[in-house]
């Protein structure tokens, strides 16, 4: 049943996906900044420009260009970066794991801190913890992530030298042998503990910076839905029948309260991929954010459209996965 449901959802995603490609196509093909001229250089002859136009396929009518573009996307040809001269898909494959690592670590931190904080502040309303959670929640969404990142660099990296300020690994140690492209994981898989702690230390500051915003929303959401669930009759019944308070909270309340929180986490993955643009720029973290921002300085459109597509696709898939998770959390939910 679940499989059929997910398949149908995947099909339902198709118009949105086509819409996204149409949007990226329109943006990249009506660009006034002429990437062909840029690639050709200032001294190119008209003939060379025409030749390049044919090479990039921009000499055809628009609807044909779009069909070519779609055919290319499906066939794995996502265009070519004018700056790096590499196929965009190859570039993305190189940069995406770094972003995935960063966003994954940030979500992990946010859930690890946010869910307990939300639960405790719901159980102990108006206590010190609750007020602390409120400050975190309010400040967390108002802090500009890039500024917070700079402050952390200033204090923890420059002044106290606890963490490295930029990059993914120490050059003198070298990067761990690539397996997944997620360096902390690669180091673990290689059993290389020095590299693991090194990459983890590099990951710490950017991941924490990125985690602050979702930490705030997850804390708030967990607190609100815990309060909601705790007032239900089945909780009273469970308590009245003498179950241990811990069991009531974890098995009865939290499990049900996690449904809205899970939605929040799913939405956050998409927002974080976008938020990582700024954080990656601050920490020189070589993910798709940095790739896109750097491409933007060269009016290099194909990489930007490629990143937009990858992020849109990831966002849709994550939300699909979240819907599948609901069934695990609440067995009453049927995928009809």
């Amino acid at each position: 049943m679940l499989r059929r449901y997910l398949l149908r959802q995947l099909v339902a995603m198709l118009p949105t996906l086509v819409g996204i490609t149409l949007l990226t196509f329109i943006i990249s093909h009506v660009a006034p900044a002429d990437p062909v001229r840029f690639a050709a250089g200032p001294h190119a002859t008209q003939e060379q420009v025409e030749q390049l136009k044919r090479y990039f396929g921009v000499d055809q009518p628009l609807h044909l260009q779009y069909l070519n573009y779609l055919r290319g996307l499906l066939g794995g040809d996502w265009g070519r970066s004018i700056r790096s001269k590499q196929p965009v898909l190859a570039d993305l494959a190189r940069y995406f794991p770094a972003s995935l690592e960063l966003v994954g670590a940030a979500i992990f931190l946010a859930v690890l801190l946010g869910v307990p904080l939300g639960v405790v502040s719901a159980l102990r309303r108006n206590s010190l913890v609750d007020n602390l959670a409120r400050v975190v929640a309010v400040a967390g969404v108002a802090l500009p992530a890039f500024w917070l990142g700079l402050l952390l660099q200033l204090t923890l990296a420059f002044q106290w030298q606890l963490f490295p300020a930029v990059g993914r690994y120490s050059p003198e140690l070298g990067r761990p042998a690539a397996i997944t492209g997620i360096y902390t994981l690669d180091a673990l898989l290689n059993g290389n503990w020095t590299a693991f702690s090194d990459t983890l230390r590099h990951l710490a500051l950017p991941a924490f910076t990125l985690a602050v915003n979702p930490l705030a929303t997850i804390t708030r959401m967990t607190r609100a839905s815990m309060l909601e669930v705790l007032s239900r009759d089945y909780i009273k019944t469970a308590r009245a029948s003498g179950l241990a308070p811990w069991t009531v909270i974890t098995k009865y309340a939290l499990k049900n309260a996690m449904i809205p929180t899970t939605t929040m986490i799913g939405l956050n993955v998409g927002w974080l991929l976008a938020g990582s643009f700024l954080v990656e720029a601050v920490f020189s973290w070589p993910g798709i954010g940095l790739y896109t921002v750097e491409s933007s300085f060269y009016s290099d459109f194909q990489p930007i459209m490629g990143s937009t597509l990858v992020i849109g696709l990831t966002f849709l898939l994550v939300n699909l996965a979240v819907e599948a998770l609901y069934g695990l959390l609440d067995p009453r939910i049927r995928y009809g």
Binding site: P15, T16, G19, I20, L22, L23, T24, I27, S28, V30, A31, P32, A33, V138, A139, V141, A142, L143, P144, A145, F146, W147, L150, L151, Q153, L154, F158, R223, A224, L227, G270, W271, L273, A274, G275, F277, L278, A281, V282, T292, V293, S296, F297, S299, F301, I304, M305, S307, T308, I311, G312, F315, L316
Partner: protein, 304 residues
């Protein structure tokens, strides 16, 4: 014909005035009961006043508005003469942060205003007409909402070329679907309400139903969304400024100032810290105010 008003009319008008005054008092008491909302209101008022009175507040207005250079005052730490220190051109950072409030207010009004100007009529239209119009709008907004806003706005800014006005335009183009969806939902549910039905039965014209009965009641959730979005607009515009796709130097925009200050972060912390603090407090103000509005309008949200 105000001169020939009947006594009943006058009494009705007085009652309406009293009702409005009561409404204002209730609103104020709700506001005063929530210290965080008051703090938000205070911060937003502070931002507005700073923007309005910038030339009088800033100790060195020329440093924010004219291309000046004070070689001997380069990168001075905070002092009585320069409470926020100076930048690499010897400009007073406090003055530039103060004038940055003007840029921020402009961003807030333009981005949210334009997004509403596009989104609200489209959403209202889709809500009224239903059918294929609403299907098309839903599909269109799906596409926009499937992409995190910042990514799409970066793409649009690049298409147009980096500048503050392009950044504002791009953010509005990315944000209108939220308003369209919200308005459409509001219109759909209000259309079913008894008072709309009643108005229709007594022969009120469709355009009056739309404007007087439906849109007027749809305004409150729009205000809540707008005040929260104003905070996000500040964050997004500052972010675009930081990566070089928004305002360009020497505009005293806070994101751009931080991006410049980054080069001096290790030794001249004040360059980065103060503009960031200004962003933080402004966003905090709009968020607290928006949350407060939401709690006031939604009694169920109390105590959460």
């Amino acid at each position: 014909m105000a001169e020939t008003r009947l006594p009943q009319d006058l009494a009705l008008a007085a009652a309406a005035r009293a009702e409005r005054a009561r409404g204002a008092r209730v609103a104020w008491s709700l506001l005063a009961a929530s210290p965080t909302t008051l703090l938000g209101l205070g911060l937003v008022l502070l931002l507005i006043l700073t923007a309005l009175l910038a030339p009088f507040i800033a100790p060195y207005p020329d440093d924010a508005t004219k291309p000046v250079l004070h070689i001997r005052d380069r990168l001075k730490p905070p002092s009585w003469a320069h409470p926020f220190g100076t930048d690499e051109l010897g400009k007073d950072i406090l003055s530039r942060v103060v004038f940055g409030a003007r840029v921020t207010i402009e961003i807030v009004l333009r981005v949210v205003g334009l997004a509403m100007l596009i989104g609200v009529p489209l959403g209202a239209m889709a809500g009224f007409l239903g059918g294929w119009v609403s299907t098309v709008l839903l599909r269109l907004t799906d596409v926009f909402l499937a992409l995190p806003g910042l990514v799409l706005s970066i793409a649009i800014v690049m298409l147009l070329g980096p500048s503050l006005s392009h950044a504002m335009l791009a953010l509005a183009l990315v944000w209108w679907p939220g308003y369209a969806r919200l308005t459409q939902g509001q219109v759909l549910s209000l259309k079913q309400e008894g008072f709309v039905e009643a108005a229709r039965c007594v022969g009120v014209s469709p355009s009056r139903i739309i404007f007087d009965h439906i849109l007027r009641n749809a305004v409150t959730p729009l205000i809540v969304k707008a005040s929260l979005d104003m905070g996000y607009a500040i964050l997004a515009a500052a972010g675009l400024g930081y990566i070089g796709l928004g305002a360009q130097p020497p505009t005293p925009e806070w994101g751009v100032m931080i991006s410049k200050g980054r080069n001096y972060l290790a030794d001249q912390w004040w360059y980065t810290v103060f503009p960031g603090l200004a962003i933080f407090l402004s966003v905090l103000g709009f968020n607290l105010l928006g949350d407060g509005f939401r709690d006031m309008l939604d009694p169920n949200a109390h105590g959460r």
